[in-house]
Symmetry: D2
Subunit: 365 residues, 4 copies
């Protein structure tokens, strides 16, 4: 089945394997009239690029994007935007270790179970490099949302059990540390924890939080295109994400109704809420407050410790994964979460435009 | 935008409002040859029916289903199955309280913000009654999955902070208590807690867990039709759900890779895993283990305490919601989670059939 | 596969069999704020109702529509509109003739080949009654388009070889004759021809033409959601339609470029074309001229003459189809073509609203 | 709106403009296990390449395809196949003539009306080069269908009014003449006619016919994913196509039922039909006979004669289109029709696999 497209109006289709010719994405349904150049996209790609710190793989890739279609004289034309990022570090290596064996925590076994064939080089389609297409599309979505006053910010809330409480957030510090944490002190503690992980040939997970400011109320379409439902799908589709929550999320399960309900109030600038336990979504539509979501990211499955597993011939074996891997993927996944959020929000914003007859009549007057 | 359909091959489209003529669903893409009668569906509907215990609304509805199309002599024909459940308890009441006011925690405000008009009677389209269509469709999906040896079980894991640890599960006790908890003692404690909620004019949330047994490996389609991504969307689209997790979920974020990785091993019956931290999904495809997911349900927003809010004229007001409401919706939502899981799993199972050329050649031989 | 839905934003899903409980349609994505009552829909249904003339089946059906959801106090709310038309004339008959035999020109054989089971009563899902859902949805689409100044008119251009040349059209005569022809004299000739068909136990085909006035330019989405491509699909999906053309259609194949090109010119009211060989579509988008399409309808396959065919047991047999059937379905299909055109045009009109960034910025200002 | 994708399971997404960086297509949902190399695709692309005869544009393009993803060691892996064809002949020219003027019969005006911006170089997205992506995808679909014994053949039935009657078809002659006509004598006459067109600075249309052999019965999904409905959309979405018909098509409109019905009969090899007026489709599903469709292609709108038109400033002007253009596009469009047919047939073949419970149970046994 065709599973590589996401979105109804602003639709992205990604393609590419880790060690194939390249990675790419088609953005179809992008409105005409948006000024767009490679630099706009490259800035986002650079945030997920390898080699940024000691906690990320040393693979050497510039991940340079090329716009192949959909713009004319630096402006989008409404036709599909095709983006290509050539792979550079894909030279032939020794894959004898993984071509026939199933690494624990990876998709090797499931790909073989489904398709009976698998491009095992660097994880093939299930590699983290697949997210390049998402981030490239997210850069465009975010730029367009900016014209509507909608801004998206993601950051690392937790690495392992080192979690920053909300009252300690300093959003201006996000870009000051390699872990994209909104608190430099917590980032320092997390770095120490990660160094220990490396020492122990182990890896760590974490939590990414993403907030959306400037949302108008009423965005999202009941009952299966709800804003939170589509966000959940978009975020859960990122490899290594095992949980998604909106607002208070799992905390809401143990709260009382009197605590969890957000009171409305009205002032000169309109209708607002006193609290935001809902995370900006009520009944699947934005309620005008900040949208808040969190993604749980599992520890990198590639660890250097010896592990027990099986091979294609159904033999029990032990294997050791060589090479240098990210002891944590959370920092590089921050921009992926931000991108998937941007794509989903923009699609919902566009879908909303046909909700009322009077707006349609106005449009065509 | 049309947001009332879900699924690619097994596609459901729900319709209906709480106090309109009825609630219904079209199931399109159901394979021909499934024996199906009203009773198959009614059994599922009865599990979400109101009035089953002191913790559920006293609304009197038999929720009787009528099959209008898609079967012939008790067997599905491959044509769309239309199911109708007439509303019975929708007589005219006094809605002056809510027709112009926005109840905290409800979708009143967001519906008005989006559409400029709202059927306020009983919550209209955002009522819990909307899930009737989901459950009716889920009953069919579950029956069909049964023919493939796939069984789905959902239950209440937690009410408020009363949460059953996995080692205390007794699945045979699920149907022995009104809260559908797999442990009667915890159910008794939870009942006490809920009685207190009622006394305090308050409400409670909880956690629903759902497991799928008998899944073949390789179900789910990378990268945006991943099994876990579609489950996340399906579950998050249920009103009141604020979080979804697969396997260890948010716990995985603080685990080490060496703890979180599941070792594969092989025996006479094939490839298996020693643990199941992944919750049965690797790379968005089933890995042959039990699928495990959890949904966080927020406390019922309708509470009898006086609350602060605003009305349509943008005036700050206080309001009291009259009538008897469920102090917790978790027990009635158990079958909704089970149904949405069944629908998503079946769709993925059907999508998987065109993955390999050799299977297709076999099919048409 | 789920094949009963059509449309991207204004999406219809039909269900029902000829002799089941009823026929219906869900209209999802209809904008809020449209005044709508049963009468609006009934007027369209009455145009396809049986028993209107001696050339149509005598089946007694009032085809009364019931709105089950999606409106509140006579206005659409943006939620799915569910329409139900109960079957009335479906009492048990003697189907021994067709339950095991494949009528020539009908879908009996193909349904069995696909599904292995078939509701043979009155043709089941392949009955002309299936179009009731389309017409009900078309009535809503047409009413909404009226608010945008877009008007759709369909009529019978030809019955058998009796075809009205364009210069003899009198559109005001369409509703003056039972054949919905825009020329009463031709209608009289066609009636004579049809009486002969009846006498000879034979049937006739014909051509339906449909025009759309008031279209703004630029509606339609390159390259697979082109306006003409979607119209072709919508019209060809009507049972018995074997050909579709836009503008000069098949005549264009033998024309010269210098004849077929339409010159643009400009006057005070904007840009226009001197001729309309294109039928109002250039590059898959409306060009501001009248849209013109034609559908070729095959003769009714049910004829009383003895015919050669086979049965389920693969025996060669001869069969005679009893009962009174329409000797021509063209007049009753006129409103079906009009409805499918309305549905397709409206969907394209809605899809067009997100084409430009400046409009989106305006919308959300 | 995103309009560049077609198909449900075998889904193609095309991108690219005539004078941008290149043209491409993503094929998503292609089953794993198909042997595939560039040569398979190049053979199809060469059939639509310019410069093959005096009747086609002299633009110099090798149209060389590069497979960027989706195969491993020469075999498809089930992941999206990305194909890139770089533009070569896109150097800067003098476009002052068309950048501000609307060529009659072209999409210049409609693109501007919709998007407010247009890549005018060589027609941009509305160029015939857009079909390169379709043909590349069609090559893959056709190869896969070959494994199922399904073969597709297209040819030129008519150029202008020179039309080959069915009894004069010699299919072996199709590849013997530059016009791809199944009769060399008619091809000679048509060549003469086209030389005259060139002399008169004029152009010609024509009719393409396409047949599908080896179809099993029952392919196609009622009621909106009918085989003929999807074929009609796919074919009508090709630029310059103004009409589509199946089987007898428009001729059926003037036939009698007794003539148009195809009798079934049975022999040792199964159920067949004595005639094939239906063109292989009954009730939207294949009936096991040869599928026959025809497309009406309008004359090339680019002619060298002076034409009246308007410019962006809404001034009436006369314009002359310089350069050498195809006096007829029919021969080069033959492989496009064949490709769109292959894509649609394959998608329907895959969609059909989930029609019956017993097949599904067999598949998962």
């Amino acid at each position: 089945m065709s599973g590589s497209s996401l979105g109804n109006i602003f639709k992205i289709t990604t393609w590419g394997e880790s060690h194939g010719e390249g990675i790419g994405v088609i953005i179809d349904g992008c409105p005409a009239g948006l000024s767009l150049c490679e630099e706009d996209i490259q800035l986002y790609l650079n945030r997920r690029k390898p080699g940024q710190s000691k906690f990320t793989t040393m693979r050497r890739e510039s991940d340079t994007v090329e716009i192949l279609s959909g713009t004319f004289e630096g402006v989008t034309t409404g036709t599909p935007i095709s983006l290509l990022i050539r792979n550079q570090d894909q030279k032939s290596r020794d894959y004898s270790n993984i071509m026939n064996s199933y690494r624990p925590g990876h998709a090797d076994y499931t790909f073989d179970a489904k398709y009976g064939i698998r491009d095992y080089r660097g994880g093939g389609r299930s590699s983290g490099r697949e997210t390049i297409g998402r981030v490239a599309a997210g850069a465009i979505a975010a730029k367009l949302l900016g014209h509507l006053g909608i801004r998206i910010t993601a950051y690392t809330k937790a690495i392992g059990s080192i979690s920053i409480p909300e009252q300690d957030y300093h959003l201006d510090e996000i870009s000051m540390n390699k872990l994209y944490m909104p608190n430099n002190e917590y980032a320092a503690k997390a770095s120490e924890y990660l160094e220990n992980c490396i020492k122990n040939q182990d890896s760590s997970g974490g939590i990414i939080e993403c907030v959306v400011d400037g949302m108008p109320a009423g965005i999202g379409d009941p009952v299966f295109e709800k804003l939170d439902a589509n966000l959940a799908k978009a975020i859960m589709s990122i490899g290594a994400v095992k949980g998604v929550e909106i607002g208070d999320g799992f905390q809401a399960a143990s709260a009382l109704g009197s605590q969890n309900n957000d009171s409305f109030f009205c002032n000169d600038s309109g209708i607002h809420k006193r609290t935001n336990h809902s995370g900006g979504v009520l009944g699947g539509m934005s309620d005008g407050s900040q949208i808040v979501l969190r993604a749980a990211v599992k520890p990198t499955p590639s660890i250097s410790q010896e592990q027990q597993t099986v091979n294609k011939d159904s033999e029990n074996i032990s294997m050791t994964i060589h090479g240098r891997h990210d002891p944590v993927i959370v920092p590089r996944a921050v921009v992926v979460v931000e991108s998937m959020t941007a794509i989903s929000i923009l699609d919902a914003v566009l879908m909303n435009m046909t909700s009322r007859l009077d707006s349609i009549v106005d449009f065509y007057r």
